[in-house]
């Protein structure tokens, strides 16, 4: 028996998937031409699934800031934060995040994934209990496992279920930590944060909130959903990422907890990895200003999001949640999801394909994400292509006298 035989069924499933067309989990962007355009397999495509909510990846000021930092500080830090990898720029960005999020303290991480791992595994320990939303992102599950705490999973977006579970474990020793996301990345649904905060506080538990997808998009200046709802002071720790609205790679955790600075010596995901690139810090510092002053970007984003959401619904597609920057189109099964995904790509539209077990409730999704940078022409092209491919694959019904499917390049 070979050491990798345990993955045989996964390999089989993948092999079957790619017989229908391109590999949804191995897409190569041969060139990136703008926040909304790339070249895949030699053909130009519109990007409708890249989490680039504010379209800042090609912002000239952010690029200039990164180039200056690259020239000034070099290509890498060659060390971790607790050794030689802390530059002035790391400290400055941590302070900038804390200030922007109205918190006393901030810590940054090389990726958003590590920010979640670090926040959870450092706050909770083996003698504590973690209560996590069933639909949590893998980084949250992984952080919980690293924490070594007892893990209790509650029903998705169900504060009453959390309440019951916290009550059942009232007598258990150790701290209680509740981990939720504000905007869920797969279905695009928003947590009932006010109720979660109430339940968490009533049970004396600590809340860690992941605002990866809501940062930059919700709140007066883009600080996220906790700010938008006036709940910022009630949430103990907030984690976020640079890789969505900030258009870079990295993550942050902010809090006003008086013991926060101790995490710098207890959080292994912070201590034992090379620190963030100076060029990345510089572009993010600049992007943070753009987010703060980004009312026009948020207006464009929400206009595009509502337009695409409502018109995709109008075409007969089933969308999993009310309008948000994440539009999850639900497909009935594996075959239709894969056919639809390939049809879109063949006709110049890239979205994410999400299938079980990576999705909640065995759903097959075309996970689309909206960008402020999508032009009205691109929005029209996206909608026309969804309609044509949807009708061709039978995902939505035929419309009399529609010539739509004849426009398809190939399926």
């Amino acid at each position: 028996m070979d050491i990798l035989d345990k993955y045989a069924s996964i390999a089989e499933r993948h092999a079957a998937l790619v017989t229908h067309g391109a590999d949804p989990f191995g897409v190569c962007m041969e060139d990136i031409r703008s926040p909304t355009e790339a070249v895949i397999d030699g053909k130009p495509v519109i990007l409708f699934g890249t989490n680039n909510y504010l379209g800042l990846t090609f912002d000239p000021d952010c690029i200039d800031a990164a180039i200056d930092a690259l020239k000034h500080y070099g290509t890498g830090t060659t060390g971790s934060r607790i050794a030689n990898g802390t530059y002035r720029a790391h400290r400055d960005l941590e302070e900038a995040f804390a200030e922007f999020m109205d918190r006393r303290f901030g810590m940054i991480f090389p990726t958003g994934y590590q920010a979640n791992l670090g926040a959870i595994a450092a706050v909770a320990g083996p003698k504590d209990m973690i209560f996590l939303d069933a639909d949590s992102h893998s980084s949250i599950y992984d952080g919980c496992r690293l924490a070594g705490s007892k893990l209790v999973r509650f029903r998705h977006n169900d504060p009453d279920d959390l309440d019951r579970r916290l009550a059942r474990n009232r007598e258990e020793p150790g701290g209680k930590v509740v981990v939720i996301e504000s905007l869920y990345s797969m279905l695009g649904d928003v947590a009932p944060l006010e109720r979660f905060v109430e339940v968490t506080k009533r049970h004396g538990a600590t809340m860690i909130l992941d605002e990866a997808h809501s940062f930059g998009v919700y709140g007066k200046k883009g600080q996220g959903i906790a700010h938008e709802l006036g709940l910022n002071d009630e949430v103990d720790f907030i984690a976020g990422t640079y890789s969505k609205s900030l258009g870079a790679v990295g993550g942050f955790v902010v809090s006003s907890h008086p013991g926060f600075e101790t995490l710098r010596f207890t959080c292994r995901q912070y201590m034992f990895t090379a620190s963030s690139l100076p060029s990345s810090l510089a572009s993010v510092r600049c992007a943070l200003h753009k987010v703060a002053e980004g009312d026009h970007l948020r207006r464009s984003l929400w206009q595009n999001a509502k337009d695409l959401h409502d018109r995709l619904c109008g075409l007969g597609f089933q969308i999993c949640a009310p309008a948000s920057p994440i539009i999850a189109v639900k497909l009935p099964d594996d075959a239709s999801a894969v056919a639809m995904w390939n049809g879109l790509l063949d006709n110049g539209i890239y979205v994410n394909l999400a299938i079980p077990p990576g999705t909640p409730d065995d759903t097959y999704l075309l996970r689309c994400s909206v960008s402020a940078a999508l032009t009205s022409e691109q929005v029209e092209t996206i909608l026309a292509t969804f309609e044509a491919v949807g009708r061709h694959t039978g995902v939505i019904g035929e419309r009399a006298a529609s010539g739509a499917s004849s426009e398809l390049a190939s399926i």
Partner: protein, 82 residues
């Protein structure tokens, strides 16, 4: 409401039916992953049903040793008798 192991096992098998994609007869020793093709998320969802049924919490980090309904029944018994 601590029941004996067989009773708990029978109840788990009933709760398992909606997850049974393969249509095989579920027995106490049926392998959840190999025989029923349950993935990790489905297994955790089953546990939620079991938790609701018995009004208990089964920490998901205890599930790595569970391969069949009988293993899960033993965990339920343990939580009920705490």
């Amino acid at each position: 409401m601590a029941g004996d192991l067989d009773e708990v096992c029978a109840e788990i098998i009933t709760l398992l039916e909606p997850f049974n994609k393969t249509g095989v007869e579920i027995k106490p020793e049926t392998d959840l992953a190999a025989d029923l093709e349950m993935d990790s998320v489905a297994a955790m969802n089953l546990v939620m049903e079991v938790e609701d049924k018995y009004d208990i919490d089964i920490p998901i980090n205890l599930l790595s040793d569970v391969t069949c309904p009988r293993d899960l029944a033993q965990l339920v018994e343990k939580q009920l008798n705490r």
